[in-house]
Amino acid sequence: MIGRRRKQVMNAVQLSLILIAILIMLVPIAWIFMAAFKNHIDVFQLKLFFTPTLENFGTVFEPPFFLGHKLMNSTIVAFVTVVLAIPIATMAAYSFSRFRLTGETTMLVVILATQFVPAVVIILPFFVMFRDIGLLDTRIGLILVNLAIVMPFAIWMIKGFIDGIPLDTEEAAMVDGSSRLQVIRNIVLPMAAPGLLTAGIFCFIIAWNEFLFALILTNKDAVTLPIGLALFKAEEGDLWNLLSAAGIIIMLPMFVLALIIRKYFVQGMTMGAVR
């Protein structure tokens, strides 16, 4: 009896600790959501109840903020980064997974290591070079440097997915006379598709949230959403209701994408992190 009683208490303690943790996790996000629907007076007060308004979401797209322009930049940069990175990474990942290459371990370690080079080290020479060849403040420039952070991750993650695909179907097709490229196109790619999609979504999130490169390389034409936030602060002081509305426009698509890859999330992250 005492044992059961104790177990109940333990369960209650456990449950309340979990609830507290969830609360702490969600409150800052919830607070931004609320602020985005407050008018410019309510937002400067500690209010839980207020009359919600949608006007902030209109204001951020108007002059002088032009969030639409930054939204388009972010979308194009992240999308093109992924479209370039995934095929290149897939080819390499297949080769690393299926063949023995001279210097394979060295290549894989170097690729892994580049993922950890601080962004600020990479960006200094790129700034000088882009200044000289006129790529500063362009989307192309931003896409090129984004590949630096996305490629190593994509190669490792996709390699993990391809490692998990059994070899026998491939071998059977080869025996039947298919060429290696046919095997890749007809067998490996369809089987790896969920993995490629997952890796693509991860890369999209990384490129979308990228901050330092865009901060240094852009100032007007190619400014992305996260830098748009910084401009809010510089131009008008802290307009929290507008900052929050812009924050939601940045966050919401990423939440949706993260939920799509939910099933692969732990698996995917541990592939890059724990494996």
Binding site: Q14, A21, P118, P125, F255, A258, V274
Partner: protein, 290 residues
């Protein structure tokens, strides 16, 4: 095409991209670090002065040592707190099958939030007039009721640490839940049957089994903590004064704001050195499994 040719052709584009976007800038940064390297003076990027930038950082720049110090404490605190709290949360969530999948879904959300946005949100939460955390702390710890968090050097630093820990707990928790799931259940049950207390089971059975995953988590988090920039930039911009100026922020300021790109590159390379050790340790763990 023969496989022996094809296999190299397949990796070639990736190697080219990695070389062009990561290896080349790394080497070029090293070269720049030995030059005068003023953005405003054409030609100074080819004007070499040996180790002078490094000597300057070590001997004549208190701000450099300040940022080393800030980064070190920041890394120790964020790595320690994030690891311990994530482990706690993972242990809480692991046995209870009821909430686990729901909570795991919730834990994914902060991952999708960009560090810059986390910085903005914490600046908002700790605003002395209308910040929710500011108000909550004021109620829970009365001496903190009337402080201006981001104006006080120590408290501003504390807010930066809190924002970082908040942003990283979900990811590390998910990784550790994965690690806990791979600890064989029968050894735990055997220990429980033998009458071991919950704490003993954790210390003597779970923890040793979890050690490799924990090591990877600590190494990874250390790497990310050392590089921290986005959040700091949006939260305090290194201030008040230089109280929260991490190395990345110091490099950014010297390189981009003052245009001393040669000097910035030398400090950047000093930052690469601990990264090499950490990456080496990480790679050892990754390849041991292969």
């Amino acid at each position: 095409m023969r496989d022996s040719t094809l296999k190299y052709l397949l990796v070639l584009p990736a190697i080219v991209v990695v070389f062009a976007t990561a290896i080349w800038p790394l080497i070029e940064s090293l070269r720049l670090s030995f030059t005068v390297g003023r953005l405003s003076r054409p030609g100074s990027l080819e004007q070499y002065l040996g180790f002078e930038n490094y000597i300057w950082a070590f001997l004549y720049e208190p701000a450099f040592w300040n940022s080393v110090w800030v980064t070190t404490i920041y890394t120790v605190l964020t790595v320690g707190l994030t690891t311990v709290l994530s482990l706690g949360l993972a242990l809480l969530l692991a046995p209870g099958g009821r909430f686990r999948s729901g909570v795991q879904t919730l834990l994914i959300l902060p991952f999708a939030m960009s560090p810059a946005l986390i910085g903005v949100s914490f600046r908002f939460m700790f605003n002395p007039e209308f910040g929710l955390f500011d108000a909550v702390f004021g109620v829970l710890i009365p001496p903190l009721a009337d402080v201006s968090w981001l104006v006080d050097p120590v408290l501003a630093f504390a807010v930066c640490v809190m924002a970082d820990v908040w942003g990283w707990i979900p990811f590390l928790t998910l990784v550790l839940i994965g690690g806990l799931a791979s600890v064989p259940q029968d050894t735990i049950e055997a220990a429980q049957v033998d009458g071991a207390s919950g704490w003993r089971v954790f210390r003597d059975v779970t923890l040793p089994q979890l050690a490799p995953v924990l090591a990877v988590v600590v190494i990874l988090k250390s790497i990310f903590s050392l590089k921290t920039f986005d959040q700091i930039f949006m939260l305090t911009n290194g201030g008040p004064g230089t109280a929260t100026q991490t190395l990345s922020h110091y490099i950014y300021f010297n390189g981009m704001k003052y245009g001393q790109i040669g000097y910035a590159a030398s400090v950047a390379w000093l930052m690469v050195i601990p990264m090499i050790f950490l990456t080496y340790a990480y790679a050892k763990f990754v390849f041991r499994k292969e």
